[in-house]
């Protein structure tokens, strides 16, 4: 006989179970999809939300941090806004519902809800591992999103903006994107709140870069100050594929962004850059799980954090190098600017290396603003608050400028400047 440990449900867990029962009648999906949903929810119910005893959640004890989950709000509305970069192809998800425009020529597009209904989405409704709480939550509740297929050798001039806006309640989206061999594109995945009402958001982007694809993917999260945001990006990097992944967190009350990357083609390269702008009484976690699984692949990771008020941040960076993944070159750095005594940032870099001919390194720094820099700017007549903002800006701007695309750089610089004006 199996010994069953029963999980006593927390308020948030109970709310999730109730939300599932309440939404059961109108969640999209065929039999296979519902079998997957049921399984994921059941695992969530028996296992509960992860606690600090689960290693990958040690610094983000979701069970205690997630106090409650708002019910789905059927009346909430969320209007779209202008794209981050003018001229982008904007694909809008309003309050969890994808708004499909018919006039996109450059690539194939369909609503994710359709693949739930016809069952083609069922295979993707999985948890990556026993600790994949985001996979479980999103798989249980996901309703819509976009499925994109970028044809081989397509070169998209304008960025694609996946604009996910919400007013309140719950929003669960998914974006499976296939980048054909040799394709080139920039995608901006943007999550935004249009109201201050609390929301519970989960989202998974599931992307594959085929041979030689060169993709820039931006995740720009600017949720409201009472919102929970659970994001995950699953990436498969094929032969000679190049991914520049840029994550910027500038909002939310409780945020976890997971980056799950599997490098499966020789010559593949990952450039990961992250900026966490943290203020107020918030908790933000960026967790990377990167597998260099084949020989001759490279990656660099730089995460820069600015912490104001009583904010807490976490960066976990796991790089695994498989036994035959010789000549892997991976470099990771995490730099934090702590602006107050009450702010916190936890950094956990991890290297698991099973090959013997590799170059891997990691480093972390934590500092305050350099007084010499501050004094120099002030001695030229720049008031202290402005001088501080300039220096914080300089700290994060270094990695924004690497993006090179001028319109994108300017747009992100504006995001950062606006955030700093409000919080610094």
């Amino acid at each position: 006989m199996n010994i069953q440990t029963t999980n006593r449900l927390t308020v948030a867990e109970a709310a999730l179970v109730e939300a599932y029962n309440e939404q059961l009648s109108d969640l999209p999906g065929d039999g296979a999809v519902f079998a997957a949903r049921d399984r994921l929810l059941d695992d969530l119910k028996t296992g509960g939300l992860p606690t600090r005893r689960i290693e990958t959640w040690h610094y983000t004890d979701l069970k205690s941090l997630l106090r409650n989950v708002p019910a789905r709000d059927r009346r909430a509305v969320a209007e779209a806004t202008a794209p981050l970069v003018a001229g982008s192809e904007v694909l809008v998800v309003r309050q969890g519902v994808a708004d499909l425009r018919s006039n996109v020529d450059a690539f194939e597009i369909r609503r994710y809800a359709e693949s739930l209904i016809d069952g083609s989405a069922a295979a993707g409704l999985t948890a990556l591992d026993f600790d994949d709480a985001i996979g479980r939550i999103n798989g249980s509740f996901v309703r819509d999103g976009f499925v994109l297929d970028i044809p081989a050798d397509a070169e998209l001039k304008a960025p694609i903006e996946l604009q996910v806006s919400h007013g309140a309640g719950q929003v669960h989206t998914r974006f499976p994107v296939n980048f054909g061999a040799g394709s080139k594109a920039t995608v901006i995945e943007r999550h935004r709140a249009v109201s201050e009402n609390a929301a519970f958001v989960s989202t998974i982007s599931d992307i594959a870069l085929h041979d030689g694809a060169e993709i820039t993917w931006i995740i720009f999260q600017s949720q409201g100050e009472f919102d929970t945001h659970l994001g995950q990006i699953r990436v498969n990097l094929g032969k000679d594929a190049k991914l520049r992944l840029f994550v910027i967190n500038a909002g939310g009350k409780l945020v976890r962004q997971e980056i799950q990357i599997s490098v499966t083609g020789e010559g593949a390269d990952l450039t990961l850059r992250g900026i966490n702008l943290l203020g107020g009484d918030t908790h933000t976690d960026v967790t990377l799980n990167l597998g260099h699984n084949v020989p001759h692949t490279t990656s660099t990771e730089i995460v820069r954090n600015v912490v104001f008020d009583r904010a807490k941040g976490v960066f976990q960076g796991m790089i695994r190098v498989a036994p035959d993944a010789q000549k892997t070159d991976a470099r990771m750095a995490c730099n934090t600017l702590l602006m107050t005594d009450d702010g916190e940032f936890a950094v956990k870099p991890e290297l698991e290396i099973f090959a013997d001919d590799v170059q891997c390194g990691h480093g972390a720094t934590v500092a305050d603003i350099d007084d010499n820099h501050l004094y120099y700017l002030m001695a030229r007549g720049i008031p202290e608050s402005k001088a501080r903002a300039m220096l914080v800006n300089a700290f994060v701007d270094e990695i924004v400028e690497e993006l090179e695309d001028e319109a994108l750089v300017e747009a992100l610089e504006d995001v950062i400047a606006t955030w700093l004006e409000k919080h610094a």
Binding site: Y376, M378, R380, I382, D397
Partner: protein, 251 residues
């Protein structure tokens, strides 16, 4: 323009007193040289005047145009027209030089109730001033002072001074690390700013710079006090005899 009265100042962190009862008056239009051996308090004096927070004034006062500036922070002093050209300008990665110049000029204008400069007007001023100092505008595209040679840093300081048009300029060992050609360019830049309503304090170890920026008065600083003042001939005397005689005479 500047009157320093019985000034005592110490390092905030450990309480070491560096300036010990210093008196000095500099009039509008005057170029005053401050000389002294290592450790006499020259650089500390420049920091205290500029409002660096690492130093505390424990006694005395600094009057600038008749008003005490002790309560003003570095930015407020700069906006009132005080400028310190640093001995060691810091490198600030991530802050673009042009952006820094524009913010500094406009913040000072704002503090004085003037309109901000338009971008074309700003660009024109920078180009003109840079040309006079033989500064390559490519250099100004780099982050502030980052990768500048010693000479370039000093020229960039004088460029800032020319653009900000201060009424009291303090040059802290601007000659250190300069070759003779760069020294002449920098000195010409400073001389161009000489005017009846502007005062300049030149802090230096050596007479050499004073051949190019000829002072109206020379003051010898030792152990945090002015122990002797005189005309430009005092600098020559120091150059040939060293500080020992004057220190002995003052003791």
């Amino acid at each position: 323009m500047l009157e320093i009265r019985n000034l005592h100042a110490r390092i905030a962190e450990d309480g070491t007193e560096i300036i010990r009862g210093l008196n000095l008056t500099v009039k509008a239009g005057e170029v005053a040289a401050i000389m002294g051996p290592n450790g006499s308090g020259k650089s500390t004096l420049s920091y205290v005047l500029s409002g660096r927070e690492d130093y505390e004034v424990t006694e005395g006062d600094i009057l600038y145009n008749g008003e005490s500036i002790l309560e003003l922070d570095a930015a407020e002093r700069a906006a009132k027209g005080l400028f310190l050209a640093f001995q060691y300008p810091v490198e600030i990665p991530g802050v673009a030089t042009m952006q820094f110049l524009k913010v500094a000029m406009n913040e000072q204008r704002k503090a004085r109730g003037e309109d901000e400069l338009t971008t074309p007007d700003f660009m024109r001023r920078v180009k003109e001033a840079a040309a006079k100092l033989q500064i390559n505008t490519e250099m100004l595209k780099r982050p502030l002072n980052v990768g500048f040679s010693g000479g370039e840093k000093k020229r960039a300081e004088i460029l800032q001074m020319a653009l900000l048009e201060p009424s009291l300029c303090i040059l802290d060992e601007t000659d250190s690390g300069l070759d003779i050609d760069a020294l002449k360019i920098v000195a010409d830049g400073v001389n161009a700013l000489r005017s009846p309503d502007r005062a300049v304090i030149v802090i230096t170890h050596y007479q050499r710079l004073l051949e190019y920026i000829v002072p109206d008065s020379v003051h010898v600083l030792y152990k945090g006090q002015v122990i002797k003042s005189g005309g430009k001939e005092l600098a020559l005397e120091l150059e040939s005899n060293g500080y020992a005689d004057i220190i002995d005479a003052a003791a």
